[in-house]
Point group: C2
Chain length 282, copies 2
């Protein structure tokens, strides 16, 4: 090997950003990254063979997240983005303690945006059962402003509704009302969409809440945080052309990938099929 060349597979500014989610909801984060950082290459892993994470235990979600992070290290990613609220809520400290590269989640950026947005100091948070049970959003919000009040609600039917494609239906409107009414009664003026699928239900949620409640989309705020991280670590690409988007799933894609790709305006090319295995070190 020529000593002047970088080691094969070494991480450089031109290495991809690794992004993962339990499924393909994390593509909302990919879209936000593509808009903000168009020249960065992205390698996305959706763990569709084990989706969803939202009803599973912390121990299992941590194990899955560490396995996927190892896979992304194998792809020589320069940083990892946990584009999944459940994995961010349950596994971010373990990932940050274990990985040799920086790891960004969606909770902290969402909490910052919510604290900046609220006028009456009362924030609502919706997410999967596991995200809500973890209390991660409350902790992040109260660490930023202990005077803020937080009301939370798990909405486990939202993801299957979205995957069924019922984005605009009377049934969806009724389920939205059933889940969100207690938060409205509580008096929130800001609602964190604490699951990367939920932006696909944004219209139905906004229709019920009206103008009185601001919606905080954790995907956009996460992309901003990743941009700041790349600058701080001197890891921004120097490329002047559009970055590559590599997409891998652990189970072959179904129709929902097309629905999401179209709704998000992403060019989905060939999808790799990857198997996540237990790394020996875990």
């Amino acid at each position: 090997m020529n000593a002047q060349e970088p080691e094969a597979g070494a991480v450089t500014r031109e290495s991809p950003i690794g992004v993962f989610d339990s499924g393909i909801g994390g593509l909302t984060v990919v879209r936000a990254l593509r808009e903000l950082l168009p020249n960065e290459s992205i390698y996305y892993l959706g763990d569709t063979a084990r989706v969803p994470y939202g009803g599973k235990s912390a121990a299992t979600v941590q194990r899955y997240s560490l396995e996927i992070a190892e896979l992304l290290l194998g792809e020589h990613c320069k940083t990892i983005v946990v584009a999944c609220n459940t994995a961010s809520a349950l596994a971010l400290p373990e990932l940050q303690a274990t990985m040799s590269i920086p790891v960004t989640g969606v909770i902290q950026p969402g909490a910052q945006a919510a604290v900046a947005a609220t006028r009456n100091g009362h924030i609502g948070v919706i997410g999967t059962r596991a995200t809500i049970k973890s209390g991660a959003y409350e902790r992040a919000i109260l660490a930023l402003d202990p005077a803020v009040r937080v009301s939370t609600r798990a909405c486990p039917l939202f993801v299957p509704l979205i995957e069924e494609g019922w984005l605009e239906s009377e049934i969806t409107d009724r389920i939205v009302r059933q889940y969100l009414d207690p938060l409205v009664q509580d008096g929130i003026d800001t609602l964190v969409l604490g699951c990367t699928h939920y932006p696909l239900l944004r219209k139905a949620i906004a229709r019920y809440l009206g103008d009185a409640v601001d919606l905080v989309d954790s995907a956009e705020n996460c992309a901003t945080a990743v941009g700041q991280l790349l600058d701080a670590k001197d890891l921004r690409t120097t490329a002047a052309t559009k970055g590559r988007l590599g997409l891998a799933l652990t189970d072959p894609p179904d129709a929902f990938l097309d629905v999401a790709g179209t709704a998000l305006g992403l060019e989905i090319g060939t999808v790799q099929l990857r198997q996540v295995i237990h790394p020996a070190k875990i």
Copy 2:
């Protein structure tokens, strides 16, 4: 070792029946087995760390099913019951070809019961996306009676609705109508509940369909088939006392286990936590 004693771990009539499902919906089959074959011991494995199977590919469901069957062989089970319509639809031939012990699924018994029940020769089948897409029920029904007409519908929101505990609600009634109305319009007089969760929604389904449509519960018919198999293979226990019920999950239990246990009248004792790993031979 004394040569007259059976080999440690050998399969005998007193060995347990191994039952598995993607989650805990398969407990409807366990209840039916307990009622019909009370003296048999049962070892149940619910793959809650990877639940649900219903939206996943055939290759992935086959891999998961073979991994779990290996685990049940390790428990010295005398027979395996696939208490999951998706795994029965996608993996039964592979399991039967690979395993040294007999394997029973839920599709064939359900198809037989449906063909026996229909008066007008028009059967409806509901299930997960993967079960319906596989065409397994149509094939089984038409093999029994090529003159029968079959109408099918995937109902992917039923399982999350059941797991949310919304068994009796206006939203549930609307979703039931949305999914089943096309089958009623088609003129079915018999409906196969082609997912082991669905018996928990039986009241809401019956309320919509009224007396004109017979419901076929694959759990009961599966238990009958297992009893016949044990007799045919001379594998019935000789015990005169109630058999043990061992319950293992791949993710720690949540509130839904209590909901299901109570609804089904099962005594759920200590739950084992098991990890399913890739066997070397697969």
